[in-house]
């Protein structure tokens, strides 16, 4: 039984939700949201001329075989930028804002080395540096969780937390 054809959803609510290991691009002045960033890293990209915006929620620093690109900071950012470019963004104008990458627990697996949160931030910065995209603001690290809202009309990134206050980057 196939009654209706299915298309990629276009937003009717003005908000587009980005899940974990996903990214989304908006060209219509919507708000891109993602929640529950602990050690995960949120990367907001914005072209101030065309207002093409993108938000990625990556779990791990570097891609491994077989995983979907959006799960990793390096391939997630590359894919997000490519998709934004296809939607009319100019990479020379795109700027980045970062949030997340906290270190909430001291797990034995960390073994005194860098936490996953720190490695996620590091990988995101290196990837953006390689792509020649400036990081104009960041709220990373610490030991608390964050939820994000990217206003694609202004490029403002609102960062909410439970106890560490809210701020706009």
């Amino acid at each position: 039984m196939q009654v209706y054809t299915t298309d990629t959803p276009t937003s009717t609510s003005g908000r587009i939700k980005v899940g974990i290991a996903e990214f989304a691009v908006d060209t219509d002045g919507n708000t891109l949201t993602t929640s529950g960033l602990g050690s995960c890293i949120g990367v907001a990209l914005y072209d101030p001329v065309t207002n093409v915006s993108g938000l990625a929620h990556a779990m791990l620093p570097e891609a491994n075989e077989g995983g979907k690109p959006a799960k990793f900071a390096d391939t997630g950012i590359e894919s997000l930028l490519a998709e934004m470019q296809a939607s009319g963004a100019d990479p020379d104008r795109v700027v980045a804002k970062l949030a997340g990458g906290s270190n909430m627990f001291d797990f034995t697996s960390t073994n005194g080395g860098m936490s996953i949160g720190e490695r996620n931030v590091d990988s995101a910065r290196k990837t953006l540096d390689r792509l020649e995209i400036d990081v104009v603001a960041a709220d990373v690290g610490g030991d608390h969780g964050r939820s994000l809202e990217l206003d694609s009309r202004s490029g403002d990134l609102r960062v909410r937390s439970a106890n560490a206050g809210d701020q706009t980057l």
Binding site: S13, G19, G38, S39, M104, G145, S161, A162
Partner: protein
């Protein structure tokens, strides 16, 4: 019947793509953005599924399917979500009218389209044809959706029988409408799906069932321990073992602020446990343990940590016994943060070596809703499989 991780992955992917089709149908039908939040393959009892419906006062529409596969699909809503959905389908209609017939028929229409799309994907994968029955609406407080409204292809008579449930959490219109899409195949149909995906190195489904029982026992022990400590009678509301893409683990929680503890456990298996309370529950528990001192933040934290210790050992001791192993527990770390962000680092740590996770979640609750305690356990997948081999009957 044997189940292996590869068939669980196939199940999970099939269910997820089916749910995305279903979500897309709803988006097209009513113009409401609909997302698949999490897809889980759950192993529980029929009674677990039924009790969730009655606890949450869910309304549902169920559709049976038969042919290449037999079983039932159910679309379940909270009454508020059902109302909002009906309002967006038919603006101006009062969804709360006395007989609610219009509301019921529009929900049936939604279910027909969504569940039909969901089942199509399975038929394609199995290269078979599957027929669906006409939808049955079950109002809030009605007979459970697993009751045999339409006997075709549904054979789960025994309340304590372990059943496989494919559960997809969907969200529409910016969290305003939330619903669950369930698919419950008959035991024969599970066998059909398992065979289609190949079962090399599979574990007998009995091992999973035995583990699932162990989890229920652990939750019951934890509940008894909480009751003994606080003097408040508690019960286990749900206790489930599910198989879920690793990124779906944090997405199973909302961004509501929770208070609780996180612990690491070491042994075979190793993994993480989070024991979380909503804020009113945390306050109630602190005041029942430390009457008159609940305003002292340090005291409150130590009360929550103590409960965390008790619950964890109640929960894990049974596993250690059944698996004939030792499981060590780290000191509990107090947390007070966005729920999904608390669980995110635990899932992320495991995500370095596994794409899917066995998620154990149990809810312990008092009769009067004085408090609710959610336990999430995330064992290392490979280590858990090794542990389950111990449970497998000797070949």
């Amino acid at each position: 019947m044997n189940l292996d991780v590869r068939s669980l992955r196939t199940f999970s992917r099939l269910a997820h793509s089916g749910a995305e089709k279903a979500a897309g149908s709803l988006t097209t039908l009513v113009g409401i953005d609909t997302y698949v939040n999490v897809t889980k393959v759950e192993l529980g009892t029929k009674a677990d599924v039924e009790s969730e419906f009655s606890e949450r006062d869910l309304v549902s529409v169920n559709i049976g399917f038969n042919g290449g596969l037999d079983g039932r699909t159910v679309l379940a809503f909270s009454p508020e979500s059902a109302e909002r959905l009906v309002e967006s389908l038919m603006p101006g209609i009062d969804a709360t009218d006395a007989d609610g017939e219009l509301a019921a028929s529009s929900l049936k229409e939604v279910a027909n389209i969504m569940l039909g799309g969901f089942i199509d994907g399975w038929a394609d994968y199995l290269d078979t044809s599957i027929d669906i029955t006409t939808p049955t609406y079950v109002a809030e407080g009605g007979d459970g959706p697993l009751e045999d409204v339409d006997p075709d292809g549904f054979e789960h008579e025994d309340e304590t029988e372990r059943i496989l449930v494919f559960r997809n959490q969907l969200e529409a219109a910016d969290d305003a409408i939330g619903f669950d899409l369930y698919m419950i195949p008959s035991p024969e149909s599970i066998q059909t799906i398992v065979e289609a995906s190949g079962d090399d190195g599979a574990l007998p489904v009995e091992s999973f069932a035995a583990f699932s029982e162990m989890i229920s026992d652990g939750a019951a022990q934890a509940s008894d321990d909480i009751s003994a400590m606080t003097g408040i009678e508690t019960d286990v509301e749900v206790s489930r073992l599910s198989f879920v893409p690793i990124e779906g683990v944090p997405m199973s929680l909302t961004d509501a602020v929770r208070r609780g503890v996180v612990l690491e456990f070491m042994g075979t298996p190793s993994g993480y446990i989070a024991i979380l309370f909503d804020e009113p529950s945390a306050e109630n528990i602190a005041s029942s343990l430390l009457p008159g001192m609940e305003d002292d933040e340090a005291m409150r934290q130590s009360a929550i940590q103590e409960i965390g210790n008790i619950v964890t050992s109640g929960f894990l001791d049974g596993w250690a016994n059944a698996l004939e192993t030792t499981i060590e527990i780290s000191p509990p770390k107090h947390v007070h943060d966005i729920g999904s962000a608390i669980v995110d680092p635990l899932a992320t740590d495991l995500a370095q070596s596994q794409e899917y996770a066995f998620l154990i979640d149990s809810t312990i609750r008092t009769d009067d809703d004085e408090f609710t305690c959610d336990i999430y356990a995330l064992p290392d997948e490979a280590e858990l499989r090794k542990a389950l081999e111990q449970l497998a009957p000797a070949a």
